[in-house]
Amino acid sequence: MTTTTVELTGVSHWYGNVVAVNDITLTVGAGVTGLLGPNGAGKTTVLHMMAGFLPPSQGEVRLGGHPSWRNPEIYRQLGLVTERESMPGFLTAWEFVLASAKLHRLADPRQAASRALDIVELGESQHRRISTYSKGMRQRARVAAALVHDPAVLLLDEPFNGMDPRQRLHMMDLLHQMSEEGRTILFSSHILEEVEQLSGTVQVIVAGRLAASGDYRHIRRLMTNRPHVFTIQSSDDRLLATVLMRQESVSGVELEPAGIQVRANDYGTFTRALAKVARDEHVRLIGLQPADESLERVFSYLVAT
């Protein structure tokens, strides 16, 4: 599948005097990307602009090279699942997804609807009215309708809301699979574990601004103003702690039952020095783990700055 990108160039959006999104430039390409941010940061505004449901007050939003705003043609390659859950409850999931297929003017709408419902595992309940569905089932029906035309780009606003753990795993597998097929998938979430499990690539929005963009582990390494924390297990923790304190790249060491915790000012210098120090002191390294490279920690640093 050819990659279709979503590009924002110098995009701002304001509601009256309130600036919701402030001068954001980003590109979302093939694969799964998480759109992260605290509540009220502007995630939904960004998604709505990408999906052509809000005009940028300033800047340009393009999907597959075409402007998103006032351009219904973009929906040929875009599938959208909004956060708002409203659906026509008087329809069955089959009718709802089939209507979507027909509105996309697909060659074989019945076959496309059937395939989409199978993907989200709603086949058995497809002839029940949507009003009788649980929250998770409604969400899956909405995803089926968004997938029915096999879009190259999928935008999902809080897609895991209301899903039980099994359904979440299934949805994650589905998104992974679609990303491997070369689709561009952007999903917003405020649940960091979901983003961590699904994607290494994030776009972090804080107070309407793009705070960081890219692989969150890489983002962490670029935060030179915060010491990197490592947990190390070795054959002689006390000796290793002593010699590590002599290193300029180390700002602190703590001895703990599970090993030693080292705070390093410089990621590159420390990781290079560690091996040399251990070899010189005849200390065998058993384990070395970055202790603050989790998305949660990276996110907390970004939100705090």
Binding site: P72, E73, P88, A145, S188
Partner: protein, 237 residues
Amino acid sequence: MNLTITRITARALLGRKRALLLLPMPALLIGLTLLANGTGVPAADWGPIVLGEMGITVILPLTALIVGSSVLGLEIEDGTITHILAKPLPRREIVLSKLFVAWGVTTLAAAAPLAVAGAIAGGPGLALGLLGGATLGALAYSAVFLAFSLLSRRPVAIGLIYIMLWENLLVRFASGAKVLSVQRYTTATADTISPSELLNATLPGVVAAALAVAVIAAGTMLATMRLRSFALTGETS
């Protein structure tokens, strides 16, 4: 026009409790006509009140308001409009489909009963005139109220202001206001198709029909323009 949108809209409209609001009005109109006709009083004495003051002035616009403001307005209110808008469809096609449903339902719920009442009061000629006039009026009202539902979050309030203040008050005191009165187009068209003493036409039929067509075109174009620039508002995160 799009059959899928038409079908879903009709099901949404006729499946809601709001559709029940449409039943008492035609029943009342036909019931009152039968009652008045049964008294033996000449139709000239009660016809203008029952057919004109009640049928054309109240029942037709109120029915069109309930229906016309619902076909798109309710979807905008509950957010289901995004399911239709996120499709590669010309916005004109969506508006025309919605307008068609609003027109059809209003015709069935108001124009047809008006024709039945006309048949009872004045025979098949009057019935035909009322059917023609009210069908045109139903389309014009639907286009206006559909446009209101895209112009404001309170289309029913604006529609009521139009019916009550413009059509029933202003038109009486400022005769120029009648050029923008769908009620006057309806009466004039009905009277042109089948001239009757029971109808009180104040506009020439051709002028009324031309103005009605202009209002329908303007309402449809305005609604299409607004839908093209439809922005999702509400919760943001």
